[in-house]
């Protein structure tokens, strides 16, 4: 990447008559370099504080020489031809510096640099489809996250957590508190109705799987392949937002692109860095009571409410059953080595980590190694090789939409079975051990407790857990996933002529994923036939091959106009093979599927290929006004056979207006206006266009026979969705660079949106058909505000606000699509937001009675209309750093189905819901209006009262970081060391009454949104030490 970096600058600062004086000098000296070479050394630090900056790129322009600063901010570049050189120093988040330095033959020159913080620097380099470009040239909003700096003050455990709240418009929702599970990630809202809205992911130029719906069947939560990345290896992350920015990525990029760049080596002595982390997490949820109201069975005189709370204190009546919770302990150990020579640099790393969830059978173990190599075999060739291999093993608990889960067992438990000791209301016998149901039955029926079983009532259950599933029973079920993954890429940059650049990247990403679920052989367990042993395994192998390359030519068209033409091609192939087997009823002992009494197997595979070409033409006027039209043409194996190639155009422009002579001074240090319009696409699922039949196994004349039946009609006219976006924005620096502003307005429309249109069942086709019949529109604003409140040698205080609004509406959809809980809690419907909640609405009428609408009405939607974060960092004496990050979101609703289900279980008000809310009484002893509404809704099995506003703010991070004093570091022989203590998810502010406003029982799924017996995120304290030698 470093070499590409230099290449890009070479294009921008070319040797030409139109260049500046410094460049003329560079060209002149560059041609006379036949003497003994010189050396350049120095340090790079921050202004005012003087803190050394590591990993800063220091490069000699036009000569292909460069270095990265070490942990102490020092750098060294050898073999520099004598003469005047131009040195450029740049790193994300700071204004780059360029300085002319004289190198004398055989001597060492010293140049120290002091960088000024500048979050919106116009000359920052951005990774694009056509290589590195300066921000000033790009018409789209760009966000680059410097992962290393973020990781210094926060302790995210996954890539999605790292992204959460860091970039405006990137919406990350944490689906649960279960370690190892997926979060959903979207950029600029829901750009598709029927397809996944997860952005494409590239690592060092290789497109990788962005699967977020893998893992064993555990009730709803899924695992994400984005979690396979080792965060310590990430150098930076580029967020490519919206169709106009993603045009050159073609079909599939309409939901945006995330480009991850990993760390590279640096010229100089080897540098070791060790990192060790220890963390603890705990559940702090306010678990609701489970209530039994005997009046529901025995009439209003039986008015004693019985309560139990197995998750909070593990008790029910006089029974003590214990809670399932534990303190989850996380440990990780990592080491990296970086260094190199002028011709070769390397970065090697390894990490071992183990995380524990707060439930006993939840945890993950990760091992990863990475080797990145940069070669500079000749002056005009650079090669960058990236390789990583990792293994992830997760163990997941049952929860969410399964009756076999911890939370279901306790929150849907039967309080009428709670053990109590009472005096017999009929005989007067004292101290009888019974249960709430028998005692109340005895009172109501005036029958001795001992006679109750003879009335036909079942005996008191041994435990009050749902289905008798104790926490120990649930813990005995094993759900595992083991993933081994290789991701690699090779990028070759070749500059055959000064005006011509060629670049090609071969990327390959392969993972094998083995999931397994095992119910142990133990007839005493409460899982029915599964207690005789059940095992299911699933083996997925996914191979993703990406090939891309471009050719770029740059010319002066005149003394003020510069042209860059890029022609590129991209090929992507993904193939996924799945094989599974299920075995039921095991003898005690061996538990391979093959040892089961009943077995079955399955196999499938999917393949998809895309080929695309693009042409981009950039015109630059005086290096401040840029106009860039482009076009991309794609063909895909998933397109319908009746469809030809798909064309995506784009045009963008950027204008650094502050560099005009007439621009008034005093307000803006820099100001850039930008505009982009463009299209990109999203392709159908691999088999959507095909008419399919399915095997129908048939028993015929006492034998098994194979038949076929119709499954789906297919759609030969199926085409990709087309997202069109207009984006306007500006960014600037004010107050002498102490304030940075980045503002964007966008409006995007997805036409031909693919909708899985259900067919009338009378058609005979059970499956839906993918059809281009929808349209969805998103509009919003994004703001990133950076401020340096105070800057002095002993104190620096800065803050950052990211905020984004998003208003999405389905603007065309002939018939609503029902889905979600009971296939009716949510709808995609024209005129409404994506995934709108629907239910009959219950209100208290004038006469005090509960009235309900005849038909379901719109009750809200699950996608936040605004969200963002506020973070602040205070650095004292260059040694102590305090950091806080508060995330927020609002303007949306969440379906509290946990309470809806508990209030409605066994007929709700009629049969005895177990939620507290339906028994609420006002001061007059009568049910509250809310309770009456909930009773009515529970009886009707409707959702309205439980669709609640879900605005929230969460203190995501609070951390303290201490740089170890130099003397101590030197005594260890190290160059830098730090210790950090961070708290994650320490506080939640919300009026939502459910377990958590962010969770989703459907895991990484993006359309279904429901809080149903889902484990909320745990609180976490982490500490880590990092030391560099």
């Amino acid at each position: 990447m470093v070499r590409k970096f230099i290449l890009a600058l070479g294009r921008a600062r070319r040797c030409s008559p139109g260049g500046g004086a410094a460049l003329i000098l560079l060209c002149a000296f560059g041609s006379a370099a036949a003497q003994e070479p010189g050396r350049l050394i120095g340090t790079v630090s921050e202004t005012v504080s003087g803190t050394p900056r590591a990993s800063v790129a220091v490069e000699v322009e036009g000569l292909g020489l460069s270095a990265l600063t070490g942990a102490d901010g020092s750098y060294a570049i050898d073999d520099i031809p004598p003469g005047m050189i131009e040195v450029r120093v740049s790193v994300l988040g700071y204004a780059p510096l360029t300085r002319a330095i004289l190198i004398e033959a055989g001597s060492t020159a010293v140049a120290d640099f002091s960088l000024r913080i500048s979050p919106v620097s116009l000359d920052a380099l951005i990774v694009t489809a056509t290589g590195l470009q300066r921000r000033r040239e790009i018409g789209n909003a760009t966000t680059t996250l410097e992962a290393g700096r973020l990781m210094e003050v926060a302790a995210p455990t996954t890539l999605t957590q790292l992204l959460q709240g860091r970039a405006p418009g990137v919406q990350v929702r944490q689906s649960s508190g279960t370690v190892g599970t997926a979060s959903s990630i979207k950029i600029r809202g829901n750009t598709s109705i029927g397809l996944d809205n997860t952005p494409l992911i590239y690592i060092d130029g290789a497109r990788i799987s962005n699967e977020t719906l893998s893992g064993p069947q555990i009730g709803g939560q899924t695992t994400s392949r984005l979690n396979d990345l080792t965060l310590e290896d990430i150098e930076s992350i580029e967020i490519v937002r919206g169709p106009s920015a993603a045009t050159l990525y073609g079909t599939e990029a309409a939901a945006g692109v995330i480009r991850v760049t990993t760390k590279r080596g640096r010229t100089g002595a080897s540098e070791w860095t060790f990192r060790s982390e220890l963390a603890g997490s705990w559940d702090d949820t306010d678990w609701p009571d489970v209530v039994f109201n005997p009046a529901l069975f025995f009439g209003p005189e039986a008015d004693t409410l019985y309560r139990m709370n197995l998750l909070r204190d593990g008790t029910a009546g006089e029974g003590t059953f214990g809670t399932p919770w534990r303190t989850g302990i996380d440990q990780s150990y990592g080491a990296s080595l970086r260094g190199g020579t002028e011709g070769t640099t390397y970065y090697l790393s390894g990490e071992l980590g183990r995380r524990e969830g707060t439930l006993p059978n939840n945890g993950s173990t990760r091992r990863s190694v990475r080797g990145n190599l940069n070669l500079h075999p000749s002056e005009n060739v650079d090669v960058a090789v990236s390789t990583s291999f990792g293994s992830t093993a997760v163990q997941l608990p049952l929860n969410d939409n399964t009756t076999d889960g911890y939370i279901a067992a306790a929150l849907v438990g039967f309080a009428w079975d709670m053990p109590i000791t009472r005096d017999d209301p009929v005989t007067g016998e004292t101290g009888i051990q019974t249960c709430a149901l028998h005692y109340e039955a005895s009172r109501a029926l005036n029958t001795p407790i001992s006679s109750i079983p003879f009335l036909g009532l079942p005996p008191c259950a041994e435990t009050p857990f749902f289905s008798g599933h104790t926490f120990e029973d649930v813990a005995s079920v094993e759900n595992t996933q083991e993933v081994e993954r290789f991701t690699g890429s090779v990028t070759v940059d070749y500059r055959p002529r000064s005006f011509l650049t060629a670049s090609g990247t071969l990327g390959y990403d392969q993972f094998s994923d083995q999931t397994g679920t095992f119910y142990p052989v133990d007839p005493s367990l409460t899982f029915g036939d599964l207690s005789l042993g059940a095992r299911s395994i699933n083996h997925v192998v996914s191979r993703n091959l990406s090939l891309e390359g471009y050719l770029a030519a740059s010319f002066d068209l005149s003394s003020t106009v510069y042209s860059t033409t890029s022609l590129g091609a991209q090929f992507f192939r993904t193939r996924t093979e799945i094989a599974g087997a299920i075995g039921r009823i095991f003898p005690a002992g061996p538990t391979n599927v093959s040892n089961a009494l009943r077995t079955e197997g399955s196999e499938s595979f999917l393949e998809n290929r895309i080929l695309g070409f693009y042409l981009q033409q950039q015109f630059a006027y005086r290096d401040r006004l840029f106009l860039t039209p482009a076009i991309r043409v794609d063909e895909s194996s998933a397109f319908g056979p009746n469809l030809g190639p798909k064309v995506y155009p784009r045009v963008m422009t950027a204008y650094v207006i502050s560099e005009e002579g007439w621009f008034p001074e005093g307000i803006f240090e820099s100001l850039r206006l930008r505009m982009a319009w463009g299209r990109s696409g999203k392709q159908p699922e691999s088999l959507d266009a095909l008419q399919l039949l399915e095997i129908r196994r048939t028993a015929l004349r006492d034998q098994d026979a194979a038949g076929v039946s119709y499954e789906g009609p297919g759609n030969p006219d199926l085409k990709p969705e087309t997202g069109t976006e207009l984006e306007l924005g500006w960014e600037g620096e004010l107050a002498e660079g102490r304030v940075g502003v980045d503002f964007t307005w966008y409006r995007q429309t997805t036409r031909d949106a693919i909708v899985r249109r259900s067919l009338p069942p009378s058609s005979g086709f059970p499956e839906s058909v993918a059809t281009n019949i929808g349209e969805i529109r998103n509009q919003g604003m994004e703001l990133a505000l950076y401020g340096l409140v105070w800057e002095a040698p002993s104190l620096r205080w800065d803050w950052q606000l990211t905020a984004a609004t998003n208003r999405g509406r389905i603007t065309r959809l002939e018939d609503p699509i029902n889905f979600g809980v009971d296939l009716r809690a949510q709808r995609h419907q024209q005129g409404l937001p994506f995934g709108a909640y629907f239910s009959r609405e219950y209100v208290i009428g004038e006469g005090g009675e509960v009235e309900a609408t005849e038909e379901p009405v719109y009750m809200g939607h699950p996608t936040p209309e605004y969200e963002g974060s506020i973070s602040t960092t205070v650095t004292l004496f260059d040694r102590i750093t305090l950091h806080a990050d508060l995330g927020f979101a609002g303007g949306h609703q969440q379906f509290n189905s946990t309470e809806e289900f508990r209030c409605g279980i066994f007929g709700g008000g009629e049969y005895g819901g177990t939620c507290d809310a339906i028994f609420a009484r006002g001061p007059d002893g009568e049910p509250t209006d809310e309770a009456r509404r909930k009773v009515a809704a529970a009886t009707d099995t409707e959702f309205g009262p439980w669709i609640e506003d879900a605005d929230f703010a969460r203190l995501r991070t609070l951390s303290l970081r201490l740089e170890v004093p130099d003397g101590w570091v030197s005594a260890l022989g190290a160059s830098r060391a730090s210790v950090t203590l961070a708290g994650e998810n320490l506080a939640l502010f919300t009026k939502y009454s459910g377990l958590d406003p962010e969770v989703n029982a459907a895991g990484g799924q993006q359309d279904i949104r429901v809080d149903f017996l889902t484990l909320p995120p745990a609180k976490r304290i982490a500490s880590w030490i990092s030391i560099t030698f």
């Binding site: 149901l437 079942p458 029915g528 088999l687 006492d702 029902n818 009716r824 049969y911 099995t941």
Partner: protein, 454 residues
């Protein structure tokens, strides 16, 4: 230029779809594909027959709910919403899939009858056509018997829903055609099944004499069965699977009236069935997914994954004749038919289900009819309840007798708290939303609403 390049590179986009079955595969197979299509039609029909037995049983308390899911609870409480996912996916859709598969196969097979390429499979084509018509007839019978009204799309599209009687008339036409085709193709079992189906349709239509006449053509020992297999859960008898908890949790059971949370539903014939050893009361080791509060009573008719489901039989034909005799005032003839069945009932079920023959005190004794139409029809219905238990007949019989103004016998279970008085299923929401010929208010004929589907 880029487009031209794309076209030139088209081979690079070829993907392997050999794991999927597409129509080309059948075309390529030619005559060899015919048995596969016939088998697919049979399998689809068998699945639908199975689901009919489950849901008809749930609406009439042959089964009660032992699971937690509200949508099936709606059926148990006889207050079915049009959005009910279980009714949509497990009942409505399989019936239409079986009908569509049968109707489509007949069209495909007829088109190939004259094709010399298919001459080698002429017999299979003929069998397929006869079976297709038979299944087309029976699926239409189900639509008439189970639903307040129904609509078709696909091979025989309709623009308005059809009430049960016209749908039954249509079924009759299909079954008469099936009888003729089966006779020509020398398929006696298919022919007899078609005749029993005709008798069943005629009974519904109140043409009792014709029904008896047709039923009289079928020998007592005849049985046309939907077969299942224990090889793969896809082929399991699903009544078995969902009441025995083999591959699924136990979600249905026979109500024994001991569950307070469930409203104490009790199957009307519980004692009689228990005394005949047709039930096992609360065996140890069997719990429903809702836990021990819903006791599980095992039914022994569908007691294995491969248990067959009788779709049409000589026994049913005799019961049809008995009812026709009762309605004609021929009490003695009806009584003889019924007592003939009662006489060897235990021996038959013992042979077929493997149950222990009851002790003499619980054996079935001959019955005496009274000459009172309503009383005797109820008695015939009781015989049907036992002989045709859990085959989907209960809802038909109960609905037919309740809708019959001459007797108005109500065999449906009493109202349950929070429930309704549905005696039929509606056209489901998925159909209403996606069929351009229907509006959302057309789930049932005007005047009916959830809780009052008739």
């Amino acid at each position: 230029m880029m487009c031209v390049t794309l076209v030139a590179c088209e081979g690079i986009l070829d993907v392997d779809t050999s794991g999927e079955i597409v129509p080309d595969n059948l075309d390529d197979a030619g005559p060899a594909a015919i048995p596969t299509l016939v088998n697919g039609m049979i399998g689809t029909f068998n699945t639908a027959a199975d689901e009919v037995a489950r849901y008809a049983g749930l609406l009439t308390d042959e089964l009660i709910l032992a699971g937690t899911f509200p949508d099936r609870l709606q059926v148990d409480r006889r207050r079915v919403l049009v959005s009910n996912a279980s009714v949509t996916d497990d009942l409505y859709t399989p019936i239409h899939a079986a009908r569509f598969q049968a109707d489509t196969a007949v069209v495909l097979f007829q088109a190939r009858l004259e094709d010399p390429v298919f001459s080698e499979v002429a017999e299979a084509l003929a069998e397929g056509i006869a079976l297709g018509r038979l299944y087309g007839g029976y699926t239409r019978i189900w639509l008439a018997e189970l639903f307040c009204w129904s609509i078709l799309s696909g091979v025989f599209p309709e623009t308005v829903p059809s009430l049960p009687n016209p749908r039954m008339e249509e079924a009759l036409v299909f079954l008469e055609e099936a009888e003729a085709l089966a006779e020509a193709a020398e398929l006696p079992e298919v022919r007899r099944a078609a005749i029993v189906g005709q008798a069943r349709a005629l009974l519904w239509l109140g043409r009792y004499g014709e029904a008896a006449m047709r039923a009289g053509q079928v020998p007592r020992s005849f049985a046309f069965r939907a077969e299942f297999s224990n090889t793969n859960p896809d082929q399991y008898n699903r009544v078995y699977a969902f009441t025995w908890g083999d591959t699924e949790g136990i979600r249905w059971t026979i109500g024994d009236g001991t569950s307070p949370a469930r409203g104490n539903e009790r199957w009307e014939h519980l004692n009689e069935f228990r005394e005949l050893n047709l039930l096992r009361i609360r065996p140890p080791g069997f719990t429903s997914v809702a836990g021990t509060s819903v006791p599980v009573v095992l039914q022994l008719l569908h007691n294995r994954a491969e248990s067959e489901l009788v779709v049409a039989s000589g026994i049913e034909a005799r019961l049809i004749r008995a009812e026709a005799h009762v309605r004609a005032g021929e009490t003695t003839a009806a009584q003889e038919l019924l007592n003939d069945l009662r006489g060897d009932f235990s021996a038959r079920v013992s042979a077929r289900w493997g149950v222990v023959i009851p002790t003499p005190e619980f054996a079935l004794d001959p019955l005496s009819l009274t000459g009172d139409l309503a009383v005797d029809l109820k008695r015939v219905a009781d015989e049907r309840a036992r002989e045709l238990w859990l085959t989907g007949d209960r809802l038909t019989t109960a609905r037919r007798l309740r809708l019959d103004p001459a007797v108005s016998i109500d065999l449906f279970p009493p109202f349950k708290a929070g429930g309704g008085d549905d005696v039929a299923f509606p056209i489901v929401l998925k159909e209403l939303q996606n069929n351009p010929n229907l509006g959302l208010s057309q789930a049932c004929p005007a005047g009916q609403e959830p809780g009052a589907w008739h």
